[in-house]
């Protein structure tokens, strides 16, 4: 992603050298995201098609989804764009955790070769990906599981 694609930011320190989004302080954060995704395949029909979409944190060497959803693809949607929403999720994050959007193969019967995040050429007012992270409380907390 390009830095020009940031619509609004009063949370992260971002300059020319920034490569990662680093959580600035301990607190409760509300995270949501939206993906426009096309598996672009013919191999899911009558086969397994579970894909994970969300936002991960990378902290202390561990990468895990802190807000995520599971999309199940089958013959009806394996060859078209679907809108996949991660609705607002509240999590406690610690200072210095890195957050990033992520997609992962959950349980697939076959390899997806040409899947894409994007939009149909005719669809000019389509957002292919969006993410919103908001600090909602600086109260102390602890969250070992997501």
């Amino acid at each position: 992603m390009d830095k020009q694609e940031i619509v609004s930011n009063s949370l992260f320190v971002i300059d020319e050298t920034t490569q990662k989004l680093i959580i600035p302080e301990n607190g409760y954060y509300e995270i949501s995201a939206s993906f426009h995704f096309n598996p672009n395949t013919s191999v899911i029909k009558f086969n397994r098609g579970g894909v994970n979409f969300g936002v991960v944190q990378i902290a202390e060497g561990v990468e895990q989804y802190v807000a995520a959803t599971r999309k199940s693809f089958d013959q009806k949607n394996q060859d078209e764009f679907s809108r996949i929403e991660v609705y607002p999720t509240i999590v406690y994050l610690q200072k210095d955790a890195v957050v990033a959007p992520a997609i992962s193969a959950g349980l697939l019967g076959n390899v997806l070769l040409s899947c894409e995040i994007g939009c149909n050429r005719r669809n000019k007012n389509c957002t292919s990906f969006s993410m919103n992270i908001k600090l909602i409380s600086d109260q102390d907390g602890l969250q070992r599981y997501y």
């Binding site: 009063s10 949370l11 992260f12 599971r70 199940s72 939009c119 669809n123 957002t127």
Partner: protein, 186 residues
């Protein structure tokens, strides 16, 4: 027309202004949940006190989530469900609904949100996210909010009937099982 013209990526990164704590509630299960193979019967997905992540607007007592003061709220929920069977034909299907319900089994019962998912052949043993999108609702003080699943009678095969199998579960590769969010808007 370039690639950039048709692809828009939006990122909102919002910091904390002032010291107000947002008036919200978020709970998620940290354990998987068993469902009975009983089509048409409502089955509650129960939470426990340890599941509460953030709470400024409800009371959670005796397994019940109740609203602390009346107002306008936004509610949403999800459950990741895996029927845990194989199926034998492409005509097989399993239909389920997820409900957010106010004051269940009382005269003031109301469905606040509902979603349906149809599992198809090939994906009967793959978890799927059932999502209730954010919806604006009016709630009164002491209204109880809960999450329910119903297997529809239009399903033509059974879900996994082993009492040891938990259908509401972590999908492969992610930790999330089921959750609910309530935000006070006004």
């Amino acid at each position: 027309m370039g690639f950039k013209d048709i692809i828009k990526v939006l990122i909102f990164l919002v910091g904390f202004t002032g010291f107000a704590q947002e008036k919200s509630f978020y709970i998620r299960s940290i354990r998987s949940i068993h469902l009975e193979n009983t089509p048409s019967i409502m089955q509650q997905l129960k939470f426990e006190p340890v599941d509460v992540v953030y709470n400024k607007i409800t009371q959670f007592l005796n397994d019940k989530i109740t609203i602390s003061s009346s107002g306008t709220f936004e509610v949403s929920a999800f459950a990741n469900i895996n029927p845990g069977v194989m199926g034998s034909s492409s005509k097989d299907s399993i239909h389920m609904e997820l409900y957010l319900i106010k004051n269940p089994q009382s005269p003031t019962e109301e469905i606040l949100g509902k979603t349906e998912f149809r599992f198809s052949f090939g994906n009967f043993d793959v978890a799927a996210g059932l999502l209730i999108p954010p919806t604006e609702v009016q709630l009164q003080k002491n209204d109880e909010i809960s999450l329910w699943v119903k297997i529809l009678p239009t399903s033509n095969i059974d879900i996994n009937k082993s009492p040891k199998y938990d259908h509401v579960t972590k999908p492969t590769g992610m930790q999330q099982i089921a959750g609910m969010r309530i935000e006070k808007l006004l």
